[in-house]
């Protein structure tokens, strides 16, 4: 593997609740792909000691009870899978979903597009073009149920969080920072900049698809007008926000 072979991947216990396998110290695209692929590979083996798993930006997490199952044994078992291949170039799992999600960029509904564009050294037009031209991947889901962190935008978008918090950015908002877009599940105070607004609901507990997005899924944003968004919002009983879903081959 890479030259930090000794440090990463690294396996650590998390309380008595699970084991974490980390593929990088920084949130890189390669580490994220490795975490998603590794988690999928272990899940496919259906180990009885793993109750459930998840993946974060750079790690795969396996929930277990370390009072019942030996950490050393689980660590050895995970290490065996780790050594079985180079995870940094592993393919993403099959059967992932591509969502095409309409959103308004800028305007009164997403008032910080200009500010974010300026921080990225782009014009507002260029910024909107990049946000709708880039096929983004769900890097991880978290902070709120179903809420995706999408990446990875170009280096220009490595913009820091603003110093103060915006008190309440609405559900369905696209907010930008650190080369990622987060699509809010619910109204949230944030230091990320509000660049777009969709009517896509990330958590639909009473529907057939309570969590439309999973790590590894892909998202393509398309630009719509204020009027189009208003019309979508008026007929949004399914929470889809006029998004289209297709299964990736």
């Amino acid at each position: 593997m890479s030259q930090n072979h000794v440090d990463c991947p690294k396996i650590r216990s998390v309380g008595l609740n699970g084991v974490l396998v980390t593929f990088g110290d920084k949130a890189t695209d390669a580490a994220n792909r490795a975490a998603i692929a590794f988690r999928t590979a272990v899940d496919e083996q259906e180990w009885p000691e793993v109750m459930e798993s998840s993946s974060t930006l750079v790690s795969a997490f396996f929930r277990t009870d370390l009072a019942e199952y030996s950490y050393d044994r689980l660590r050895a078992r995970l290490n065996e899978v780790l050594q079985s291949r180079d995870w940094s170039n592993a393919a993403l799992p099959a059967g992932r979903t591509l969502w095409t999600i309409p959103a308004v960029f800028g305007t009164s509904r997403a008032p910080q597009l200009a500010e974010a564009a300026e921080a990225a050294g782009l014009t507002t037009k260029e910024a909107e073009a990049e946000l709708t031209a880039t096929r983004l991947r769900v890097l991880t889901v978290g902070f709120a149920p179903g809420q995706p962190y999408l990446g990875t935008l170009g280096t220009a978008w490595d913009i820091p969080r603003q110093v103060g918090l915006s008190p309440n950015i609405p559900a369905g908002a696209l907010v930008a920072a650190v080369r990622q877009i987060c699509l809010f599940t619910k109204d949230t105070p944030t230091g990320w900049r509000h660049v777009g607004q969709s009517a896509f609901q990330c958590f639909r507990p009473r529907s057939d698809i309570p969590f439309p997005l999973s790590p590894g899924d892909e998202v393509q944003f398309t630009s719509i007008t204020l009027q189009e968004l208003a019309s979508i919002e008026a007929h949004n009983a399914d929470g889809n926000g006029a998004a289209l879903r297709e299964v990736l081959k």
Partner: protein
């Protein structure tokens, strides 16, 4: 269907169970009752499944009435309780006759009290659980005027009690190293263990803030870390050096470093510590932690063996209702008065 009519209710009372596992990858934490042990205790007293839903009460309860005779059990933080005006023992099971007032007042110790009913509360399950997880819009707080549905009760036994444990006033908490513990300098970790913390009034089902005198616990050489998984019991250190113990309703991931993780068996003690109670943390090795937790888990499963008949104060023995409770085998579906 039998129901529990809610006449008056304190703030923050909600239906809970052992939570909603299986959705970590989707950003939804397991959640459930703040004091899992109390759920096991109620199930042991009523000799029923730990999967049945209960009522979690924060610092105070409410006034209730059942549409038919039901068995109840009271566990967790002790709250002044009366059935038809007569004091009802805490940490015990009782008969609540139909159309009889059950009043549960403020807590005397601890934070979370639990009302269990024979057959469990059978509100609609969402994503496989009845647990109320308010911050994400799953379920809502119990309101006055509501009638909570109750499931069929196959049990009969009442008048049982469990020995009271000491988890309601803070104390010593065992923690195990977590993924970022080594990132904290040894002297910070030692100072953390030596500090007597007070449970801040700012505490809820998501997290409990710990107060202490003196400087905080942020690490001077700490780099910004990538957001990583959170498990309940994690102790995160925020930017200003303040520790928070993350509780059942914590988020699934977070960007603050964790100095350690509370053992699951000690988490009820943290949850129940009332505002101002002192808490002290000490590290145990992963091996010791596993052994301590394994013993605690085994003990939880055997709680039923510890349930003993409630011995009544002789001064209350002349009371017919209480006397019947001593018998322990009164049918939950018949009025005790008809049998007396």
């Amino acid at each position: 269907m039998t129901g529990l009519i809610v006449q008056q209710i304190g703030p923050g009372v909600a239906v809970q169970d052992l939570g909603r596992p299986g959705f970590l990858a989707k950003g939804l934490t397991t959640s459930g009752a703040a004091d899992h042990r109390a759920v096991y205790e109620g199930a042991a007293l009523l000799r029923q499944s730990t999967d049945l839903a209960v009522l979690e009460m924060v610092s105070t309860g409410g006034t209730f009435e059942a549409t038919a005779p039901i068995r109840i059990a009271l566990t967790g933080a002790e709250m002044a309780t009366k059935i038809n005006g007569e004091t009802a023992a805490w940490n015990a099971s009782h008969l609540l006759p139909a159309n009889t007032k059950l009043t549960i007042g403020p807590s005397r110790d601890g934070t979370y009290g639990y009302l269990h009913v024979g057959g469990g509360i059978t509100t609609k399950a969402i994503l496989g659980s009845r647990a109320t997880h308010q911050s994400v819009g799953l379920g809502s707080l119990v309101a006055a005027g509501q009638t909570l549905p109750i499931g069929d009760d196959k049990g009969k036994e009442i008048g049982m009690t469990l020995p009271r444990d000491l988890r309601f006033s803070g104390g010593d908490i065992r923690i195990v190293a977590s993924m970022q513990t080594e990132d904290f300098d040894a002297d910070i970790r030692e100072r953390f263990e030596a500090t007597v913390f007070r449970r801040d009034p700012r505490a809820n089902r998501q997290g409990i803030r710990l107060d202490s005198d003196g400087t905080g616990f942020s690490n001077p050489k700490q780099l910004s870390i990538v957001s990583e998984v959170i498990v309940p019991g994690d102790i995160q250190i925020t930017g200003d050096g303040t520790p928070f113990v993350l509780m059942v309703e914590c988020q699934t991931t977070g960007g603050y470093p964790r100095i350690g993780t509370v053992l699951p068996c000690d988490l009820p003690r943290v949850a129940q510590a009332p505002a101002g109670a002192t808490l002290r943390f000490s590290f145990v090795s992963l091996g010791d932690a596993a052994a301590i937790q394994a013993r605690a888990s085994a003990e939880l499963l055997k709680l039923g063996h510890s349930a003993k008949p409630l011995i009544r104060d002789p001064h209350t023995m002349q009371d017919l209702l209480s006397y019947q409770l001593v018998g322990g085998m009164v049918s939950a579906h018949q009025s005790p008065f008809e049998q007396g």
